[in-house]
Symmetry: C2
Subunit: 227 residues, 2 copies
């Protein structure tokens, strides 16, 4: 969650960091669940703030199951999941009448060195595949999709730090994307999009991180001079 | 888009309704695309406001393709797609470590009286299927999923007017949901969720449209008396 968002939190709130990065869980999920219960039972009003949407790879279901088991009332505020945010800022529609009539969201976490996904389900035409947390498994992902029937020339993109001013978008094919990604030394967090909608990126990319910063500077300059 | 949101639009903006309902397209998509171009070329600043997310069954890709073809600059603001909003307010996580490691979004529009979907891809275990605009095709949907291998006892839900005070949630199985839905006389817009995550609704449902209205009244009463 960005500093700009955190700055909206009320000033007298106690803040507890419970974030996660790969292989560096600051707080295990079970501890987070129990912490929510403990704070609520102390009579506190608790906001569990997450990036993305709590119900799409966000473990929100597990957290509120724990709350429900303890009879603690809660509400859920939906959010912009990474697939939606990154796709918007990369100019890659997830569905499109001409290219993809469905889209599927999966995670690309490595388990014991391999990616455990339902390849038969994923390697189908006319759909968009979005892979969360797939950087380390990218080569395996592309290899398996080709092995299960997708053409090696299927378009694919990887987006690093989507929606931020550090956003980087690489596009290629199932054949070429792993090499391009390694050469560009991308780092997490990333989002992978596979499908013909990726071809639209060249035409629809509108967000240029660095230029955007410049534009903001220029606007401010004009404003302070004329208003 | 609700009146509360529309009320945030600047007062001097001209408003043009371009909404769609089934079989009652107020403005064909191609006309919307061209209207955006015409207004932009007149030098106007145009907001194309939609419910949901423009890149998930929102035709946003087609609209900005038209803009890009005419050299008109644009930006895309992602939104809460119906699947995310309705799932949150129905207490149905779309993914869950124990039940669903992926989720897939499709539309259930009828074409020539039947629903044209990739049934082999959809009828897989351990995933959540979300069907937009599927009310009329619900019986066909459930029948085909069973015919292609999903157990008839697979959990399924239909949500009418999710996130609003008119929200209604019906849960059952692929076998029973069509009958329950017909008996309850649901009307569009609806969202259908198929998968074991639906079982969590009984425990996690937190939003009770009518009670919520009452609660707001009570809170206001207390505030005005004690503050």
């Amino acid at each position: 969650v960005s500093p700009e968002i955190l700055d909206l939190v009320r000033r007298d709130a106690a803040r507890i960091y419970a974030g996660k990065e790969r292989s560096k869980h600051v707080m295990p999920q079970e501890s987070i669940n129990q912490l929510l219960v403990r704070l609520a039972k102390e009579g506190k009003r608790v906001l569990r703030l997450k990036g993305g949407d709590p119900f799409i790879f966000g473990r929100g279901g597990e957290e509120i199951e724990t709350l429900a088991s303890h009879g603690i009332p809660f509400q859920v505020v939906p959010g912009i999941t990474a697939a939606t945010g990154a796709a918007s800022y990369a100019g890659i529609p997830l569905t499109h009448r001409d290219y993809a009539q469905s889209c599927v969201f999966v995670t690309g976490h490595l388990k014991d060195g391999s990616v455990d996904l339902d390849w038969l389900m994923l390697a189908r035409p006319n759909q968009t595949i979005v892979v969360y947390m797939g950087l380390l498994g990218l080569s395996e992902l592309c290899r398996q999709l080709i092995a299960h029937g997708l053409p090696a020339a299927t378009s694919a993109a990887i987006i690093q730090q989507g929606t931020t001013h550090k956003q980087r978008v690489l596009t290629g094919t199932l054949q070429t994307l792993p090499g391009l990604t390694a050469a560009a030394r991308l780092t997490p967090p990333t989002l992978i999009i596979v499908g013909e909608v990726v071809k639209l990126h060249g035409k629809l990319a509108w967000f240029e991180p660095q230029r955007d910063v410049d534009a903001a500077d220029i606007t401010m300059g004009i404003s302070s001079g004329s208003e």
